[in-house]
Symmetry: C2
């Protein structure tokens, strides 16, 4: 049966984990028109009851039981939501029991904390990294390259800025951003300010046609956005990465999440952030 | 049994969902020293076999079976990882079967796509929003308040900038940022540029002592950071929110994720982004 189906992401906190997993699961069923709702901060039986009523209304309207993808740590809250006319897929229910058995200690049913400030130091680290990336993006990047965990190198609009921000926000990585400009291409040598930081460099590249499209949106009809100029810049940048043996990644079809995780993995920064 | 236990977040994509759920689950077992590893892009039986070997080595070293929290859409890849000497908690395995039964169509075992560019338009929307927030934060915010989905109002360092970036990056919400300065407090009226946008305003407030700490880090010993000045600014800002009936939130103990989701919920923007 295809058709329309309501989906509720229900959480005692932000709902980010439930949404994220739920969205991935639903991509496996491409024929269905899923209508998504997020109900965050459902952390009391009273709020759970309002959620239950909202789900029941959707069940009536759709004439089909909604899917409920939830992260509800408190069994009492879960029970109330489970009474709704829907299919409850709760991540805690599914896994906490098995974990308890394996670990050999009972779970401490605190509300899930992965997106809260459960670890003040780690959170401060993330916010400091965001501020670092913002200031490093502010036109005077050279000064703080020494404080960076990683330095993204690439032509204008190859994806450096959003990737730096994502690395900072999600992982607390201090990411700086070094734009390659046409002057850098006169010789095929690494720009001087980067010499002392070779081991932190990571190159971003992009398909020249896509780059030209992106630049046209910002400066229509400019030399900056012209396809032949984009071809020139990208080929020089790629040549530079090759000559200087800088690891690099083509961002054309990749999301910031994919660029960031690939980079962490290739630079072996991936486990450092768990410490 | 407490002690040290390795945890592997294994994914055919970025690993963000597995990490996020896994971290939440593990907070339920506060006594254990979990050593976390992320293995992203495990999308072939060969890569799965390397992952299996890494997990097996950790099992030997720890003398305890590692936990494997995974999002592996391909059953063949999952099978290889499941052969490791660990406890596999796979989110797909746990839920896809039940979803298939309920929806009545077989899952299409494409690799999970929630953090890829599966939806080009939505991704472009997110990146445009990031650029919007960056330019709106660039000192000349007033010009594009009209294009904003939401306008965050608050004193300097109350959390506006990282929240705007998070709203943009995660949800594609165009969030602008209007700092309240001491001049705005001479009268208790809404600053002029905000008059036309009352329905988009959301106030951020913060404990004055915490604010003073944050400001001290940036400008030690300044009038800007002095506790009595922070008290003055915060009390005036809160008064303004009250007089002008602007919804507001105390950010002191909240993460950007919590601030952002609370705001979406209160401003009824929460479901708009699923459309």
């Amino acid at each position: 049966m295809s058709g329309r189906r309501s989906v509720f992401f229900v959480s005692d906190r932000t709902g980010i984990t439930a949404e994220s997993l739920g969205t991935t699961l639903l991509t496996q069923f491409p024929g269905i028109d899923f209508v998504k709702h997020t109900l965050p901060f459902i952390d009391s039986p009273e709020k759970a009851d309002s959620a239950r009523q909202e789900i029941d209304r959707a069940a009536l309207a759709d004439n089909a039981r909604p899917l409920i993808i939830s992260t509800l740590a408190d069994p009492h809250v879960r029970e109330v939501v489970a009474a709704a006319n829907g299919i409850l897929l709760d991540l805690f229910e599914a896994f906490v029991g098995r974990l308890q058995g394996e670990i050999g200690t009972p779970a401490h049913p605190a509300v899930g904390l992965s997106h809260g400030i459960s670890n003040h130091l780690a959170y401060k680290h993330r916010m400091d990294a965001v501020n670092f990336s913002l200031s490093a993006d502010d036109g005077a990047p050279v000064g703080n390259l020494g404080d960076a965990d990683i330095i993204l190198v690439g032509v204008s609009r190859s994806g450096k800025t959003p990737t730096c921000l994502y690395l900072a926000m999600q992982y607390g990585i201090r990411a700086a951003n070094y734009p390659l400009t046409p002057e850098d291409f006169e010789t095929l040598h690494l720009p001087k300010p980067l010499h002392a930081h070779r081991d932190k460099l990571f190159g971003l590249t992009i398909d020249p046609e896509r780059l030209s499209q992106i630049r046209q949106e910002r400066k229509p009809g400019s030399r900056y956005a012209a396809l032949d100029n984009c071809r020139f810049e990208v080929s020089k940048a790629e040549k530079l990465f090759q000559v200087e043996r800088i690891k690099s990644l083509d961002t054309t079809t990749k999301s910031v999440e994919e660029i960031a995780t690939t980079m962490l993995h290739e630079m072996h920064l991936s486990d450092a952030r768990h410490r």
